[in-house]
């Protein structure tokens, strides 16, 4: 393999690992973020409903 071939093979391997790590982190952390976002929007919507139109 030439230098470029080794570089791109390594880059592909690193990209798969980083991609997988980001996925795991986001899936776990995102679940609790969704709960917080929905709670905040519900609160905001109920406050708006109480305001006189």
């Amino acid at each position: 393999m030439s230098g470029w071939q080794i570089l791109w093979t390594g880059a592909l391997g690193v990209s798969v690992i980083l991609f997988f790590v980001v996925e795991v982190v986001v899936v776990v952390g995102g679940a609790s973020d969704i709960k917080d976002m929905l709670a905040s929007l519900r609160e905001h919507a109920s406050e708006d409903a109480k305001k006189p139109s």
């Binding site: 470029w4 093979t9 880059a11 592909l12 990209s15 798969v16 996925e23 609790s32 976002m37 929007l41």
Partner: protein, 505 residues
């Protein structure tokens, strides 16, 4: 037809669940901010999910795989440059921190506050035009993917395009950003998983050593070295390097940064999600390279044709349809639909919000939240119809990625470059900004409309090559900004933002 029952069940289940979310979240939309920016309540991981899903569209898979097919491993340089760009923006907060601290909804709104309404409207028009043209290829590429993966006859293409548009319009119009964010999360999971699995199947089917040999045979050393590649070359790499400071700031991605709870979260968002951007480019490129290997082999089905020529954009889906096992093929199509929907809905919402916030609102400032939401929904539908027509009628030059890059430059070199000047250079004034916007907003049109026409004599055609025009656009925009601003400091003194409003004092 390549699909069997288990593939159809997978795809239909996914579609029912996704569209159900849009209806379920409708009651949470109480005002314009909650419709457009999910009430600015996005925390880091959810922002990463929505940005990751938005920026990994079906169109991304298609244009990167086509680039891999056409350039071989040399195309990987594009992914590496994108990674460097994200790391730079994430570490420095370049532009995104300033805009988030100002709490603007769209980038053009910044122009209204830093300069004046005319500048805001012109910046918005350039952003809107570049964005719509860029998005114009989403439907046709998405429909082509489905066509070859499922095995529909080629004359179904326009019907598939219309069907995909209706699907996305449905839940974007109903739910706004809240439904977009929630579906993005689900789409992120299925999409990222499928991309990794598909890469495994794509490589193992043909064998990595065979892939290397095929690229060497088809493209020589230029299949690995981007600087001597016939398709890319020095000029192309320099053009991409010019765009590094503006990486990931296409308005739909930027809207994620503006939707986060604070500017530190915006910076972390770019640093973390940027790590996945190497894979976002390299893995689909690898599918394209594997497709090249497959179609160069003796046992392959013929490469699909389009308008009498080999359709390199169709190589990847045609290859995957032949090698993926039943069930995985359905999962891949569901993931591709997820990719298309998560990107397309965000882009539609983004361009529509620019139209309403930055073009209509400056003219009719007293609109109520209800009226703004209604107008944004109408704009979403109008943008969708334009995209359907443009995708069907326009034939892009060279590869699809190159078209995306030149429309991206039309926006980066004009709107982003002048935004950076407005945030970090005290002498930037309205005249310099307008000059730069107009020059950089129009130069790329020469490539888009003249690049492959016979209007220009042969000896002048190099002047409208995308690489030349891309570099010229960045340089001329910067020169116009600096020279015009310095020459008109007395007649048009720069407007100073109050310290509490922004970063300039």
């Amino acid at each position: 037809m390549n699909f069997i029952w288990i593939d159809w069940v997978t795809v239909i289940t996914f579609l029912v669940l996704t569209t159900g979310v849009a209806l379920a979240t409708r009651r949470l939309i109480s005002d314009y901010d909650s419709f457009l920016l999910a009430g600015r309540t996005l925390k880091l991981y959810l922002a990463m999910a929505t940005m990751g899903a938005t920026e990994l569209g079906l169109v991304t898979l298609m244009y990167f795989s086509q680039q891999g097919y056409n350039s071989g491993f040399a195309a990987f340089s594009i992914g590496v440059i994108a990674l460097i760009g994200f790391m730079f923006v994430g570490r420095t907060g370049f532009i995104i921190k300033g805009l988030r601290d100002l709490e603007v909804r769209t980038i053009a709104e910044f122009f209204g506050r830093r300069y004046n309404r005319s500048t805001q409207v012109i910046a918005a028009i350039i952003t809107f035009a570049a964005g719509l043209m860029n998005m114009g290829l989403f439907l046709v590429l998405g429909a082509k993917f489905l066509l070859y993966m499922v095995g529909f006859p080629p004359d179904m293409l326009p019907y598939l395009m219309a069907g995909l548009l209706l699907l996305v319009l449905g839940y974007t119009v109903v739910g706004g950003m809240v439904s977009v964010v929630l579906t993005d999360y689900a789409q992120f999971v299925i999409l990222f998983t499928s991309v990794v699995f598909t890469t495994y199947f794509a490589i193992t089917h043909v064998g990595y050593d065979t892939v290397i040999d095929t690229v060497q045979r088809e493209y020589g050393a230029g299949g690995f070295d981007p600087f001597i590649s016939d398709d890319l070359g020095w000029l192309f790499i320099i053009w991409l390097i010019f765009g590094i400071p503006f990486t990931g700031m296409w308005p739909p991605a930027l809207s994620r940064a503006l939707s986060t709870v604070d500017s530190d979260t915006s910076k972390k968002l770019y640093s973390f999600v940027g790590l996945s951007f190497l894979g976002r480019a390299l893995m689909p490129m690898m599918w394209g390279i594997c497709a090249l290997t497959y179609f160069a082999g003796v046992d392959a089905i013929p490469l699909p044709m389009w308008d009498g020529a080999p359709d390199t954009a169709a190589a990847m889906p045609a290859y995957l349809s032949q090698i993926l096992p039943a069930g995985v093929r359905g999962l891949m199509v569901a993931a591709a639909l997820a990719a298309m929907m998560s990107t397309f809905d965000s882009y539609l919402l983004c361009w529509s919000s620019i139209l309403v916030n930055d073009i209509v609102l400056p003219l009719r400032p007293k609109m109520t939240d209800r009226e703004k939401i209604t107008l944004t929904r109408l704009a979403v539908v109008a943008c969708g119809i334009f995209v359907l027509s443009w995708g069907y009628l326009y034939k892009p030059p060279e590869t699809f990625f190159r078209f995306m890059a030149i429309t991206g430059t039309m926006y980066s070199a004009s709107v982003l470059l002048t935004t950076a000047a407005g945030l970090y250079w005290k002498k930037a004034n309205t005249v310099g900004t307008l000059t730069s916007l107009v020059v950089a907003g129009t130069l790329p049109l020469t490539t888009i409309f003249l690049g492959h026409s016979d209007i220009l004599p042969l000896e002048y055609r190099w002047m409208v090559k995308d690489k030349v025009v891309g570099i010229a656009t960045f340089i001329s925009s910067l020169v116009c900004m600096v020279v015009a601003s310095l020459l008109t400091q007395k007649s048009h003194p720069p407007k100073v933002l109050a310290p509490r409003e922004g970063v300039t004092t």
